[in-house]
């Protein structure tokens, strides 16, 4: 009898230990944990198919108006998300390569400009891509953390698939002085800050071309 009680007690203890050390997951939930990287990959594919249809401003016109009247430029070409002093721009155009380094390329959009106006960067941070394009929305996610993780993973994809290979390809050129870059890109500006050049632009599409303005 005593042996049975001891065995029974041991069995109960083992059962408790197993219960505490294991997490029971329904079989249909296995493999369904949220994966921001693969989610972001799908978002990127979707964004690429929608690039042509995105509402984009001409970079030359944006820069002209930013020089003349920034507030009007914000109203005409930029987007606001939530309650914010940031203005999000999607621009396209082309510019002459002024110089490049491992992190980005300086380009000049307007021939008469006194300085390079855009810096096409491979350092892609923040929510600029998702805010400017609206390709994903916070409401789509139960947890804001997941939204941010997808946004971060999307930044990495854009950096690795668009910006970095393009900058690497510049190294192979004997000279960059006659090169033009066609681009679709994004940036944000603080509404009442003076515009500081070069504006850092996140590229969504980059193409190299010869020739001038």
């Amino acid at each position: 009898m005593r042996k049975k009680i001891v065995l029974l007690s041991l069995a109960v203890i083992v059962a408790i230990l197993i219960n505490r050390s294991c997490k029971i997951v329904p079989i249909d939930q296995i493999g369904k944990t949220f994966d921001p990287k693969s989610y972001a990959q799908n978002v990127w594919l979707k964004l690429q198919t929608q690039l042509a249809n995105l509402s984009k401003a001409d970079s030359y016109e944006v820069l002209e108006l930013l020089n003349l009247n920034p507030e009007e430029a914000h109203q005409k070409y930029a987007k606001i998300v939530g309650i914010s002093n940031y203005r999000y721009y999607i621009v396209e155009g082309s510019g002459r390569v002024v110089s490049f380094n491992e992190d980005g390329i300086l380009i000049q959009i307007r021939e008469e400009a006194k300085q390079p106006e855009f810096y096409i960067t491979r350092r892609v941070f923040g929510n600029t891509i998702v805010m400017a394009t609206g390709i994903i929305k916070m409401e789509d996610f139960d947890r804001i953390m997941d939204f941010n993780l997808v946004s971060t993973a999307l930044n990495d994809i854009v950096s690795e698939e668009v910006a970095t290979p393009f900058i690497e390809s510049m190294r192979e050129k004997a000279s960059t002085s006659d090169l033009m870059v066609k681009f679709i890109g994004l940036f944000n500006l603080l509404r009442d800050d003076p515009v500081r050049y070069p504006i850092s632009v996140i590229p969504l599409k980059l193409e190299l071309s010869q020739g001038g303005y």
Binding site: V81, G82, I83, S84, N85, Y86, R123, F125, N127, D142
Partner: protein, 315 residues
């Protein structure tokens, strides 16, 4: 004559009192995660003031960072017939059940400053874009520290907030999404100081003993940054820079005075609270179209642009 005047005054008091009572639109509850931090006091006061201006009787509840206390407040609020709740959640997951209970009782909830990890139960969640704040700070941190410390290795420490609070991780993740991409930076210590000034002081003292080589301390809020500042100054160190988050009064003054706090991220508590109170009023008057998620701007404040800012907002 005196008797007549007394009666007139008494009637006048009664009329004024009755009018004031009659004009009250009902009761609104302001539930705040903690009032043991000046930033949250500003958040609560702004919500209370705006709701009072709109004609409501307002009661502020302090959850003391305890979901059990918060739950008990919701019991009281539901039983006492409050009309709306302006809610600063203690825990993004742990507070969901409270919002659901309020919704089931027909009481609209407007989240302020922090959100909950659920959709379709709060009318609106108006909160600081903490992740972007972390990104802004990360970008400034890299630029500032590379200019100050021209070395291949820049060791730094991080003070995290309350580990169960969503802003703790949104801010930290945003910061690391930038800083971790730069090989010069090495985080040698990361510890929670629970968004608290005294704990920030104690934790920084320990970190300084274990890692005297650090050049910077990134803190997930300004209360911890002030604690870190006190510890760094007490140790006589002038080569460690501190970075905060909130835009609290003492930190804005510290940046202005050129002390060792290099920058903070400005949140706008008054803006969020006022908006939540106004939307609650509109909801109670029949409006039903509100965005469920409303990110509110955050801005980097440093020595370069301090002139634009005052404590808890812009000048």
């Amino acid at each position: 004559m005196r008797k007549f005047l007394t009666i007139v005054v008494a009637v006048a008091i009664l009329v004024v009192g009755f009018t004031a009572f009659a004009e009250t639109k009902g009761k609104i509850a302001v539930v705040i995660s903690t009032l043991n931090n000046p930033w949250f006091v500003v958040l609560a006061d702004a919500a209370k003031l705006r709701a009072q201006e709109l004609g409501y009787e307002v009661t502020v509840f302090d959850s003391q960072n305890d979901t059990a206390k918060e739950s008990s407040h919701f019991d009281t609020i539901i039983a006492a017939g409050f009309k709306a709740i302006l809610f600063n959640p203690t825990d993004a997951d742990g507070s969901i059940a409270n919002v659901r209970r309020a919704k089931d009782a027909g009481i609209p909830v407007f989240c302020i400053d922090r959100g909950i990890n659920a959709r379709g139960i709060a009318i609106s969640q108006i909160y600081s874009d903490n992740y972007y704040g972390g990104v802004l700070m990360g970008e400034y941190f890299v630029k500032f520290m590379k200019e100050k410390v021209k070395a291949d290795k820049i060791p730094y420490a991080e003070l995290l907030g309350i580990l169960s609070a969503q802003p703790t991780w949104d801010r930290s993740n945003g910061f690391h999404s930038v800083v971790d991409k730069y090989k010069e930076f090495t985080m040698v210590a990361q510890q929670s100081a629970e968004f608290d000034r005294d704990t920030g002081f104690k934790v920084t003292e320990q970190i300084l003993q274990g890692h005297p080589e650090i050049k910077a301390i990134w803190c997930g809020n300004d209360a911890m940054a002030l604690g870190a500042l006190m510890a760094v100054e007490a140790a006589g160190r002038k080569d460690i820079f501190i970075f905060g988050f909130d835009g609290a009064e003492d930190v804005i003054y510290a940046i202005n005075e050129g002390r060792l706090i290099a920058a903070t991220v400005m949140q706008f508590p008054k803006l969020m609270s006022r908006l939540a109170a106004e939307w609650a009023d509109q909801y109670l008057r029949g409006e039903r179209q509100f965005p469920e998620i409303v990110p509110v701007t955050v801005e980097l404040v440093s020595r370069e642009n301090i002139d634009k800012y005052a404590p808890y907002g812009r000048k």
